[in-house]
């Protein structure tokens, strides 16, 4: 897997003096889904804007498809798609012409069949003759996605694709993103729904106050920072933990009726249960909780802010 996007020392200080992005290095691999997480104002949209040409870098370099963005921007931009965070639509535009226009704008030859397929895949075909401004928010979001995909980009930026979108549409969106990945599109998305990153991303980056705090494989991250908790309700109360179970680090709760397990990563709940049965300890129920990316995220950001407060 080669790199599709290489960012080096990229930084942005806005005219008003706000430094939205500290010098940042980031490499995105071809074909992956990368989720950028971070609280409001962290610099996610700024980072995307820098790559897509909406924001002028204050320093650093961007290479996409091996092309220098400062020099070969025409070639590189022709292969990048962007779905912005804000729902910006032309008041007078209609769905089909707007999407057709987007393709031409990026220099691709007209392809009505391709546009039809795209609109159908987004359930927009029935709405093709409607004014975009008359569509619901979720449908507008789909139009923006269709516009971003109209020129078959190899690299797609989705800035909060599921903000303000209902559960069903969110599922659809996830499915669509999965399909795009299968077609070989590299996707960088930002989201506030961490379950979304957990569901789809191959790698996650956490950004806070303009600093990219961490970039890691999702699985590795969860294995490293995740925890598993299990509460096992026993058929017969116990008074002490059998020696054979000691290495699990169990705690006794509720007067011996519940055993509590707390382990790192994905934990070892299954071996524990087998060991319990082997010891002849019967149980009536188990409640397992694996920490989510969200717990990790909240923990990380919380600790971060705590450290900064303490440093003052």
């Amino acid at each position: 897997m080669g790199a599709i996007l290489e960012i080096e020392g990229l930084q942005k200080t806005y005219a008003g003096g706000v430094t939205a992005l500290q010098p940042t290095d980031l490499t995105i691999n071809k074909g992956e889904i990368f989720a950028l997480l971070g609280p409001n104002g962290a610099g996610k949209t700024t980072l995307i804007g820098l790559v897509c040409g909406l924001v002028r870098p204050s320093g650093g370099t961007i290479r996409a498809f091996g092309l220098d963005m400062a020099r070969d921007w025409r070639k590189a931009r022709a292969r990048i798609g962007l779905v912005p965070q804000e729902l910006s639509v032309d008041m007078f535009e209609y769905v089909l012409p707007a999407v057709t226009h987007s393709r031409a704008l990026f220099g691709r030859p007209a392809d009505p069949a391709k546009i039809e397929k795209l609109l159908k895949s987004l359930s927009l075909w029935e709405k093709r003759d409607q004014r975009i401004s008359a569509l619901s928010g979720g449908m507008k979001r789909r139009v923006l996605i269709a516009k971003a995909l109209a020129h078959d980009p190899d690299l797609l930026f989705l800035d909060e694709p599921t903000a303000g979108v209902d559960v069903e549409l969110r599922r659809d969106m996830w499915q669509l993103i999965g399909q795009l990945r299968d077609q070989g599109v590299t996707i960088i998305l930002t989201t506030h729904y961490i379950e979304e990153a957990q569901e789809m991303a191959d790698r996650v980056g956490v950004i806070d106050r303009g600093v990219l705090q961490l970039v890691e494989e999702k699985r590795a991250l969860m294995a490293r920072l995740g925890t598993t908790e299990a509460k096992i309700a026993l058929a017969q109360p116990v008074s002490a933990i059998p020696a054979a179970l000691e290495h699990f680090g169990l705690a006794i709760e509720d007067g011996g009726k519940v055993l509590c397990y707390h382990g790192a990563g994905e934990g070892e709940v299954a071996p524990l249960l087998k060991a319990l049965l082997a010891e002849g300890i019967d149980f009536t129920g188990i409640d397992v909780h694996e920490s989510s990316l969200e717990d990790i995220f909240v923990d990380l950001i919380g600790r971060n802010h705590h450290d900064q407060e303490a440093a003052r």
Partner: protein, 255 residues
């Protein structure tokens, strides 16, 4: 990819399509306004005014009125064309597309100028209904109309980049262009002005446009046609330089 021809054509067609959608305001309004001028100044008042250097007053004001409309419409159209996407936020797509200064100029400015030229033809045809005029140098007239339309579409584009509200979009045409055109010799010959106004008025660029066009119509005007062409080309070059600067620095377009 060196020049994004398809993207340029897309912008050009998109902008012209906006004209067809609003055909009423785009064509009928200016035609109505100029017709009123012809009726009032040409017909009613003009009949009591002497000929201007041998040209009947009603015919004398045709080139000036035409120029007035071209300036106002070119500026308004081009400024609206770029201001609207900035206002709605849809400009993100343009900025993220393989579209540079050349594509933008040909697309936006080209479309605005095209519209002005179409309008000029319609107005000239309308004028025929009220006034008997002739054009001595039709090719030069067409060229000069095109040149002015392009120059003021460029100005409009700059205005559309600069404006941060709809009011500002209207302020420049109202406060700058309208006075300059009215004082630009549309309704009078600058020979009629006393000094120092006769000299001061030569600093008004619109004087060169109105008189340049008048010369192509009647073979006589207050300024030399060569000077008019030179002034217009100079103004055009200045506008292009400003637009190139806008794109290089991202001024008002990229944060």
């Amino acid at each position: 990819m060196s020049f994004n021809l398809r993207g340029t054509l897309a912008i050009y067609k998109f902008e012209l399509a906006r004209t067809w959608r609003t055909l009423f305001q785009s064509i009928l309004t200016p035609v109505l306004t100029t017709s009123l001028y012809f009726i009032v100044f040409g017909g009613a008042i003009g009949s009591r005014i002497d000929t201007m250097g041998g040209v009947p007053y009603a015919a004398f004001i045709v080139p000036g009125l035409l120029m007035l409309t071209i300036l106002a419409e070119s500026t308004a159209n081009a400024s609206f064309g770029i201001y609207l996407p900035r206002f709605t936020g849809t400009v993100y797509e343009l900025l993220s597309a393989p579209i540079g200064v050349a594509e933008t100029l040909v697309g936006y400015v080209g479309a605005a100028a095209t519209k002005s030229v179409i309008l000029a033809v319609v107005i000239l045809a309308t004028a025929r209904v009220f006034v008997d005029y002739h054009i001595e140098h039709p090719l030069l007239a067409a060229f000069f109309i095109l040149l002015s339309a392009v120059a003021f579409s460029l100005l409009g584009f700059i205005l559309g980049c600069w404006a941060d509200g709809f009011e500002k979009l209207q302020v420049v045409p109202m406060l700058v262009l309208t006075p300059l055109t009215f004082l630009g010799g549309t309704f009078y010959s600058i020979q009629m002005l006393p000094e120092p106004w006769k000299t001061v008025t030569l600093f008004n660029p619109v004087v060169y446009l109105v008189n340049g066009l008048r010369w192509t119509f009647y073979g006589q005007a207050d300024v030399n046609f060569g000077a008019a062409i030179t002034a217009t080309l100079g103004f055009m070059a200045l506008c292009i330089a400003v637009i190139a600067f806008i794109f290089r620095t991202g001024w008002r377009l990229r944060s």
